[in-house]
């Protein structure tokens, strides 16, 4: 035969569903993470509305006491373990390889494994609602011995959290190797985008802290099911031991939940101020400082146990305010003297700075040990964590979504709807959570299903509930903007915002292996350098 059949490069077309299930591409996995976590943001949000409905009026019987305990436990569990921690893995997966100029994560298959551990864990945790005894109801803190008393839903919760912890531990190792080994030529550590730095410190915290949580959960599981007595004083165990190991993870976890948000804000502010981040190295060292100090403040959750070395943990807790304060200066200095425009991502970033400022100040109350004796376990603390995790983290999530939406999906979200979304959410957030400070000062404990009419807490609770529903309403313009965007063709250029970092040097969305060619990296702003040359240095 003289002719040779030339194989046609038609490729093998997998069905789309199979493609998504089997993908090891960091961008697709990042998108899967985002879909998964935003789904659980909605679930956690609905649970929050149930909580707020129950608390809207005194002596309410909208849900029973048992159901209430399950609802707020699962609200926190969904928001922390299934939304906010993995949502950063979503942003990180999509962005870290692009920002450092790599083709993918270091271990793509491990990356897929990290993601695919999440759905079974989420299903297992929520299946608690259909088993005898209901879902976990001991709070997300699962304090022993209370956590020994509840039904099988608690065991399901424990296993789910262990699996989620494994996911984030191996994910952390993947991020670290990726950032240490796969940076583009010219990108020294101190030229890495600031979001990558925050992901790096977050990954270190996850790698070091999450195994401790896993150990604590295994001990709790043994106590519950096999007669272990780790936390049982009648068998020689120690009740407070649980709190020590739990918070040894869960306080660093608070930084796991906020640091990447700070990173996102520190990407957005410079772009729309048209200036570099003020004090890049100070920011990096402050991030590392928060990570390090984060391991020495856990017992400030335990000041009222009577078994804590109060001066040490009080001092460390105040000290962690220092690197946090440095960041506020970084952000103010970035805006100062800039040329500031206000598209939606910038609004969310400025919202983050102002709400996080309040979340930092109302946190100092708990560092002042005698004041914490009054405010611990009251609604004041509920206000504090929501100013940090909602006013902070959630605002950063939406800022990031509006900012990178053109890159990830090739389309821009409608600006007017985005601004409406921001305005409603900003007002709703403050109406929902600011009154909680007053309720806490007035002595309303957290985690109570009902309060007496005579306590006088109804008006502020009703206000707070109204704010919560306003937050829910603010999601409507966001969803409309998403639907509208997907009805349009992909029309976004490589760099619609005049941004600084490498992800904007490729097409929107990027091709499978990310870059055809990379611009030279001579600073932390390679795209700015490419646009302006040396004129502005």
């Amino acid at each position: 035969m003289a002719t040779v059949a030339v194989p046609q490069l038609s490729g093998y077309h997998r069905p789309a569903v199979l493609d998504w299930i089997t993908t090891v591409d960091h961008k697709k996995l990042g998108i899967l993470y985002l879909y998964f976590t935003l789904f659980f943001f909605a679930v956690g949000g609905i649970l929050a509305l149930l909580v707020r409905t129950q608390l809207a009026v005194a002596d309410n019987s909208f849900v029973g006491n048992d159901a209430y305990n399950q609802i707020f436990t699962m609200h926190a569990s969904a928001m922390l373990f299934l939304f906010i921690i993995p949502v950063w893995a979503g942003f990180g997966n999509y962005l870290v390889p692009l920002q450092i100029g790599a083709a993918d994560m270091a271990f793509p298959r491990i990356n897929a494994l990290s993601f695919w551990m999440l759905p079974p864990a989420g299903i297992l945790m929520f299946a608690g609602f259909i088993v005898d005894g209901g879902a976990a109801d001991g709070g997300w803190t699962a304090y022993s011995p209370l956590a020994q008393q509840t039904g099988v839903g608690m065991d399901m919760w424990i296993i789910a959290v262990i699996v989620l912890g494994m996911s984030s531990t191996i994910g952390a190792a993947n991020f670290l190797v990726t950032m240490f080994r796969m940076r583009a030529p010219g990108m020294t550590m101190f030229r890495m985008p600031i979001f990558c730095w925050t992901m790096l410190v977050t990954a270190l915290l996850q790698l070091l802290a999450t195994p401790v949580l896993a150990a604590a959960l295994v001990m709790l599981f043994i106590d519950r099911n096999y007669g272990g007595q780790f936390f049982d004083p009648n068998g020689g165990g120690n009740v407070v031991l649980w709190q020590n190991v739990f918070w040894f993870y869960s306080h660093p976890a608070v930084y796991i939940m906020i640091l990447p948000g700070m990173g996102i804000v520190s990407e957005i502010l410079p772009v729309f101020s048209r200036k570099p981040l003020f004090g890049y190295k100070a920011f990096v060292f402050a991030t590392i400082g928060i990570g390090g100090l984060g391991f020495s403040v856990w017992a400030h959750h335990m000041f009222t146990t009577g078994s804590v070395l109060l001066p040490f943990f009080g001092f460390m807790t105040f000290m962690i305010g220092v690197p946090t304060g440095v960041k506020i200066f970084n952000w103010l200095g970035t805006l100062w003297g800039g040329s500031i425009s206000f598209p939606t991502p910038m609004l969310f970033a400025i919202g983050f700075v102002s709400m996080f400022l309040i979340g930092g100040i109302n946190g100092t109350y708990s560092a002042a040990v005698p004041v914490d004796f009054a405010l611990h376990d009251t609604y004041f603390v509920v206000a504090h964590i929501h100013y940090v995790l909602f006013g902070g983290s959630v605002f950063a999530v939406f800022g990031g979504l509006y900012y990178w939406f053109p890159k990830i999906w090739g389309r821009k979200l409608n600006e007017r709807l985005g601004k409406l979304h921001f305005a409603l959410m900003f007002v709703g957030f403050n109406v929902a959570f600011f009154p909680m400070h007053m309720l806490g000062l007035d002595g309303m404990p957290r985690r109570i299903a009902v309060y007496a009419d005579s306590a006088g807490w109804e008006a502020l609770n009703m206000l707070s509930t109204g704010g919560a529903f306003l937050i829910a309403v603010s999601m409507i313009p966001f969803l409309i903007a998403v639907v509208m965007a997907f009805m349009r063709p992909k029309d976004q250029p490589d760099d619609p915002w005049e941004a600084n970092t490498l992800e904007w040097a490729t097409t929107s969305p990027p091709p499978h292996y990310n870059f055809d060619s990379l611009p030279p990296v001579r600073s932390e702003r390679p795209l700015f350098d490419a646009r302006h040359g040396d004129e502005a240095h």
Binding site: F278, T324, S354, A368, P370, D377, P445, H537
Partner: protein, 273 residues
């Protein structure tokens, strides 16, 4: 130049006023709501609360004013690139130094207050044994440990036991130190009296204690502050601070009643669980 700088000053003034008003609003609400405290210890804690609050509001007002000023003053007006300022030098030292000074100051003041409130009662002060259980409280008084006016030869313990539907009342005398011993046999609870500005956990396997001297008489609401199960929210009680003679009369009545009912227990025994 004057024409340029005038609106700038106005803007700065507007930003500062707005931030100051917000801070004042927060102060006003806090002072309307924050209980001043009815014990010596609570009043010390209340002073610390106000120091932290004022420091926090100053920081908030300064940062908020700077933020509002910056976003008004530095709005984008054209395509010209602003000066590319990377920071560094003295200002970065200040960025670290100022927060360090603030937190060390607040820490020092906190520790002084902590030492002041952490006074231990004399052995002859009234001791109240508090036991938390799912889902109410037991307050036990040993008849030979009632502080002033104690008959050292008295025997027996009187106990007040509540239920979730019937909140118990904790009687205590005014103007003298009272020591609380906190115990639990089931799960963790927390003894929280709002007007003490204080709470302390009841932990299975250990006894926690604290001492306060109340300075006001009256009824004060209190409840469990640590999630303890289904009816956690119903674990309420009232602290009734009374004059000493009223307290003695109550003790005598209760002792007689409980003796009549046969519920007065020997000093070593406990009741309820």
């Amino acid at each position: 130049m004057l024409r340029m700088s005038l609106p700038r000053r106005v803007r700065l003034l507007a930003a500062a006023t707005a931030a100051g008003l917000l801070a004042l609003l927060a102060t006003g609400t806090a002072s309307a709501i924050q209980p001043g405290g009815i014990t010596d210890e609570a009043r010390l804690m209340n002073e610390l609360f106000w120091i932290v609050t004022i420091a926090g509001l100053i920081v908030f007002a300064l940062v908020a004013a700077a933020l509002v000023y910056a976003i008004i003053r530095y709005r984008r007006k054209g395509d010209e690139l602003p000066p590319q300022f990377h920071g560094g030098g003295k200002i970065e030292v200040a960025m670290v130094g100022v927060p360090i000074l603030i937190v060390i100051g607040l820490f020092t003041i906190s520790m002084i207050t902590l030492v002041q409130i952490d006074d231990k009662a004399d052995d002859d002060a009234l001791t109240i044994d508090v036991t938390g259980f799912q889902f109410s409280w037991q307050f036990a008084y040993n008849l030979n440990d009632l502080g002033t006016n104690t008959d050292p030869n008295a025997e027996g313990t009187i106990a007040v036991i509540g239920t979730p539907a019937n909140d118990p009342i904790l009687y205590m005398p005014v103007d003298e130190p009272v020591e609380f011993l906190l115990k639990s046999n089931d799960v963790i609870h927390s003894f929280y009296v709002v007007d003490f500005l204080y709470k302390l956990d009841l932990i299975p396997g250990r006894v926690n204690s604290f001492t306060v001297t109340a300075r006001e008489t009256g009824d004060f609401r209190a409840q469990c502050a640590e999630l303890c199960g289904t009816n956690h929210a119903l674990m309420r009680f009232t602290v009734r601070v009374v004059e000493r003679d009223e307290f003695d009369a109550w003790v005598a009545d209760e002792a007689a009643r409980q003796l009549g009912e046969g519920t007065l227990v020997s000093s070593s025994g406990t009741q309820g669980d």
